[in-house]
């Protein structure tokens, strides 16, 4: 019956296979080869690249990546929850506030990261303002450290946390809150024992949605961390440019991808409400 529909899928099959699946297969292939003397790869089978991943030097980078992504996700949750709560209770203005949260996300990732360079650098707005007020004499080292990277990630991915939190808070039955109050629960107790447990799916979804892009972050640590704050993404990029070790870069890329996929799978299995 639907032969036309099968034809309609053909172009996307071709693109997906040739420009996504085959390239992944090629780095899988490369990750088992040996690096050439002048970059590239030579056909010499070896699993050295994977063994090198276990080297403490790279283990540290992976740990740092997890640490930075974890802190960023936690901050997004702490900052995003009250905002989502406020929006879910704003009646007719909900859509306006939601648009205000989403809009910056779509306007140029690069420009939004540059905005923080502009604010934080030695000659940036914050240091210039503090100096002209006479509060400090030499610029504070605000840029090129882990704090700046975390700030940039929180700023970039906060909308990913607010949206699923809002979705669960929106569905929360206000009668439950009244019931809690009638039964004598103080607002703090209602928050901790009624709202938060009911929002657990939204918190989980938001955390996954923030944590995963933070794990794969490249541009934010590159610009705001300035080479000092190396994350997994920067390590991979470096293997393909300066270090010219494609097999090792491929192995690291696949390891990162495997971690991302495991996290997603674990989450999708626990996602009963279809928040993703």
């Amino acid at each position: 019956m639907n032969r036309l529909r099968a034809w309609f899928l053909a172009p996307s099959w071709i693109v997906t296979v040739s420009l996504f699946l085959v390239p992944l297969a090629i780095i899988l292939f490369y990750s088992f080869l040996t690096r050439g003397n002048y970059g590239g790869v030579v056909l010499d089978w070896s699993s050295d690249s994977y063994r090198r991943l276990a080297d403490p030097l790279y283990g540290m980078i992976l740990l740092r990546t997890f640490w930075i992504a974890g802190v960023s996700s936690l901050l997004c949750m702490l900052l995003g929850f009250p905002l989502a709560l406020f929006i879910s209770r704003s009646g007719a203005r909900k859509n306006l506030y939601l648009s205000l949260v989403i809009l910056p996300f779509w306007t140029s990732f690069l420009v939004r990261t540059y905005a923080w360079m502009f604010l934080l650098r030695d000659t940036g707005l914050i240091n210039t303002a503090l100096q002209s007020m006479g509060l400090i004499h030499s610029p504070l080292p605000l840029l090129y450290n882990d704090g700046a990277v975390i700030l940039g990630l929180v700023y970039s991915y906060l909308p990913f946390m607010v949206l699923p939190l809002y979705a669960t808070l929106e569905r929360l039955d206000p009668n439950l809150l009244e019931a809690a109050a009638d039964l004598g629960a103080k607002p703090g107790a209602t928050l901790m024992r009624v709202i938060l447990p009911l929002c657990a799916p939204g918190i989980r979804a938001g955390t996954v949605l923030v944590f995963i892009p933070c794990l794969g972050a490249y541009l934010t640590p590159d610009l705001l961390g300035g080479g000092k704050s190396v994350m997994a993404g920067n390590l991979i990029q470096n293997q393909f440019t300066n270090a010219r070790d494609w097999p090792f870069g491929s192995a690291a890329a696949l390891a990162l991808m495997a971690i991302v996929m495991l996290l997603l799978l674990a989450f999708v299995r626990s996602d009963q409400e279809g928040l993703l």
Binding site: N2, R3, L4, R5, F8, L9, P11, S12, W13, V15, T16, L19, F20, P23, I26, I27, G40, L79, P82, L83, F86, R89, Y97, S99, L100, V101, I102, L103, P104, W106, T107, S108, F109, L110, V111, R112, Y114, A115, F118, L119, T123, G124, L125, T128, Y155, L158, I212, P213, G216, Y218, L219, L223, G233, Q237, F240, S250, A253, M257, V260, M261
Partner: protein
């Protein structure tokens, strides 16, 4: 007491929304600064003039527009056909691959495409350039198009097409004259979104671009790395404003 908490929450929300918007607003404000330094010295359009007359920026903007336009048209066509094909006929491998391409870190997509191109170049006599960037952009935009068009298709009553088929239309005519007009706003919304993600991409593009295909984000990255020039603020303001308008139109069309 209750009112006080409510006010506290509202005050917090104001600060959170300022956190999201203020950095870009300040960036844009200082694009109108007469001084090169981060001290306000009066209104001026000097940096816009300088950015406008910069040959490198002009060329990279032109490249970005060509790449985004071609990639948008192709990914919208391919993605719309794909969404329609997936509408009722399940293809789990294809749809899972598309979702996977969305969550794959950009740096991984970028280096795998680079490795793929270098491998293909062993057999063909070509080099990295506009074409490799365009192909990469088509590949990562399709998933966005499929998701937006699919959302629109879910609101379409399948009986409309059945009626068309009963009345003697063939499958192509039922798609072309019944379903496509109904989902058209979604298709345009998807195209605007595809244009935005293509025009803005830095990570994948920088890996697969050749010497003659520097894009605007690559030029901005280089300027941002070099140091302070309010020229970057000026271009940034234009980009944020332009893409912001596209996104607002896209949102409007999607909720229409």
């Amino acid at each position: 007491m209750k009112g006080g908490r409510r006010a506290g929450l509202a005050l917090y929300a104001v600060f959170a929304l300022l956190f999201l918007h203020l950095p870009l607003l300040i960036l844009a404000l200082f694009s109108f600064n007469a001084s090169r330094f981060t001290v306000w010295q009066g209104f001026s359009l000097h940096w816009y003039q300088e950015a406008f007359h910069d040959a490198e920026l002009a060329e990279s903007t032109w490249n970005s527009l060509i790449i985004a336009a071609v990639a948008t048209v192709l990914s919208t066509v391919i993605g719309t056909l794909c969404a329609y094909g997936l509408w009722k006929r399940r293809a789990p491998v294809l749809s899972n691959s598309l979702y996977l391409s969305l969550v794959t870190p950009e740096i991984v997509t970028g280096i795998s495409l680079l490795a793929f191109y270098q491998w293909v170049f062993r057999f063909l006599h070509v080099q990295l350039g506009m074409h490799t960037v365009i192909l990469a952009h088509i590949s990562f935009s399709i998933a966005y198009v499929v998701i937006v068009v699919m959302a629109r298709l879910r609101t379409v009553d399948a009986k409309l097409e059945e009626a068309a088929l009963d009345l003697g239309a063939n499958e192509w005519q039922a798609f072309r004259f019944v379903t496509l007009p109904v989902i058209w706003p979604g298709v345009i919304a998807a195209a605007l979104l595809a244009f935005t993600v293509s025009f803005d991409d830095y990570v994948i593009t920088s890996l697969v671009a050749g010497v003659d295909s520097e894009t605007l984000p690559m030029a901005i990255y280089a300027l941002a790395r070099r140091g302070v020039s309010p020229m970057v603020n000026a271009i940034s303001a234009v980009i944020v404003f332009g893409l912001g308008v596209l996104i607002l139109v896209s949102e409007r069309l999607r909720s229409a």
